[in-house]
Symmetry: none
Subunit: 211 residues, 4 copies
DNA sequence: CATGAATGAGACTTCATTCAT
DNA sequence: GATGAATGAAGTCTCATTCAT
């Protein structure tokens, strides 16, 4: 023991990332107030005191998590609308299934739950998320809709509300998966939802009877 | 002090209701963990100890709020689908604007936020809400869709997913109003959303160009 | 209901007695601090508030119980030594089996436990019991011993310490029954103890061999 | 404040012991329910929260005190009967004065009071003490008596009851010192009691007159 | 007299945060 | 940088006590 080899050496620089990861998991699971720093520390494999080396307060850590995790979300969204915008009818399924795919890769539901649940207690975080993620996604869609309307592809109507028609079911699907399924609800296949919903957006639910 | 105001006057049966009301407001605002019994007591105009006359623990009170508040929700839903189910195309706008109306009358957004935020910490409450409210609403819609499909009014497709297409935007609208608007987002007119979304559901967003 | 016969009428005067009885049971069982007024009230079949009709505070009630219950104890002791004091050797078994008999008729163990346990918190009660019961009993015995010593029946020695030799095992027996038996100890027959201990007091334990 | 005294200094391994010591004092004095954690903390020179670093609950702390303090008691008893058991008549005074000595070194009275007072509220503790201390002491004596009876030194009779005859006065003496003396009773010299009681046990109280 | 309803004071307990090492 | 030990502040809950009826 005395002059032996240390059993392992810490990956110094990795620490903050590991902590953020652990914190995201716990915050997303429990919410801000119910999350215990001791749980986060344990999950990150460090002492409670170590958290304070990197983050000044619990609130700070929460902010960091929320913001840190917002960035990659935005990046994921960009490719969905970048480049030559094709015909609207062709874009929609791509966008919707893109969202379904993103939801597979990151704990989108947990994050949404966290942001929704703490929106009053941390207005700034709700702000950040609204501005950095939701609003950006929405505005991309609004843009697409407006362009499509100009080209005569999409009917007249408030583009923003069209955005909700478009996104709403996907978000509900994500929340359902996060909230209702653990409570005994039947699981939903987000990709099928994306596909069918794209159909609704294009042709409506009705068979013939217009008007 | 002598022959002054009595320190408190009994309002017997009213008390528990007043407490539940206050508790709903605070829980919906802050979430379970961040809600302080002193806030609830103050808002209800009683002492902290009085809460314990009617509810055994904070958890109990939360449960009572969540359950108590579930019942009227169900009642509100019933008229939306009762009676002769007319043509699907005529029902949809009614249902959607019905939801918009309900959202005006009760703090639907706050409740949703509360239930979503505490779903992991109180799985039973998520269960109750899923079963008593969401699932019930969804199944009413699923039923309508199935009937309409039989009559040839609605295209083939998973009725449950159609339900999400139908409800999703309204729920997103409600959450937007609760979460994003206080964080600086532009308000949404739920009735306009209902109307326009009904159009989407009927005819789709596209002008002519099918596929 | 309006002008009917009341279903039962309360035995007004009995109330305080019933309360004291209930209080004795609970105090003896739990001790002062751990005893809940609600338990006492329930056991007495009255409301908590009713206790305050007869006793000003919990402390008051405790005092009343301790004192009220001290009196009959003293009365029970009197016959044990009253009248012509016979020969000491004949008195001892009578006294000891008298104690055993008293222990059968009243919750002597519970009371002892109560007084012992609360002696620091209620010095006055320890005082009352010491003076009114223990000291009195002891002094009666001391007196007997002194008389017997004068008559040459009993050896020289501190009469007070003789008193402890005499009483100690009976008290230990009572405490054993109250404390150790519920905790799994083998029960003791107090009458047999009284008889055998009387033998010890008279002849000692040894066979012949006087050192 | 700058370069002043550190607010607290760690004494690592010492802490739990110091806390137990303080807790013993307070519990023995007040009983479980009436003991305040703040008193214990103050007496131990730590914050209330520090108690929770070492003990999960007040109950836990109480248990630890009762058990921790039982062990040394047992050790103290062992030498009293170990080794060649001499003649019974010679052992008795040794045992009794041994008890008197133990009572000088540790707060035997306080502990007894505590255990007796909380026996109903903490049956397990009464069990531990009965089994680990009382029963053990008693059985040692019972053994001695039985051996002595075989050798013809001690009269026939229930050895267990002889045990009570032997121990009872010492225990009463200890309780007297703890309970009655602070309430105004005349102090007792436990060593004198031991000596005189040993005489009683050997020869009885009577001068000549047998029977 | 009796009580259901209400409360103030205070207890135990938790937890984010800090300090000496 | 990292941590075990410690704590202050605050929260939930209990309970003796009071008040209007």
């Amino acid at each position: 023991m005395a002059d032996g080899e240390p059993r392992w050496r810490r990956r110094k620089t990795a620490r903050p990332g590991e902590i953020l990861e652990a914190a995201l998991a716990v915050f997303a699971d429990k919410g801000f107030a119910a999350a215990r720093l001791s749980d986060i520390a344990a999950k990150a494999g460090v002492s409670k005191a170590a958290l304070y080396v990197y983050f000044e307060t619990k609130t700070d850590l929460f902010r960091a998590v929320a913001n840190q995790v917002a960035a990659p979300n935005i990046e994921r969204l960009r490719p969905l609308v970048d480049g030559e915008p094709g015909r609207f009818a062709e874009m929609m399924p791509v966008i919707l299934s893109g969202i379904a795919k993103v939801a597979e890769d990151m704990p989108l539901g947990g994050i949404a739950k966290m942001v929704i649940g703490e929106s009053r207690n941390f207005p700034e975080i709700a702000s950040v998320w609204r501005e950095a993620v939701i609003e950006r996604a929405l505005s991309m869609i609004v843009q697409l809709v407006e362009q499509a309307q100009k080209k005569g592809e999409v009917r007249a109507g408030d583009p923003r509300l069209y955005g909700l028609s478009l996104l709403g079911p996907m978000i509900m699907g994500v929340l359902w998966t996060e909230v209702a399924v653990p409570a005994g609800g039947a699981p939903i296949d987000l990709h099928k939802l994306a596909a069918q919903h794209a159909g609704v957006l294009m042709d409506g639910m009705l068979v013939e009877a217009r008007r």
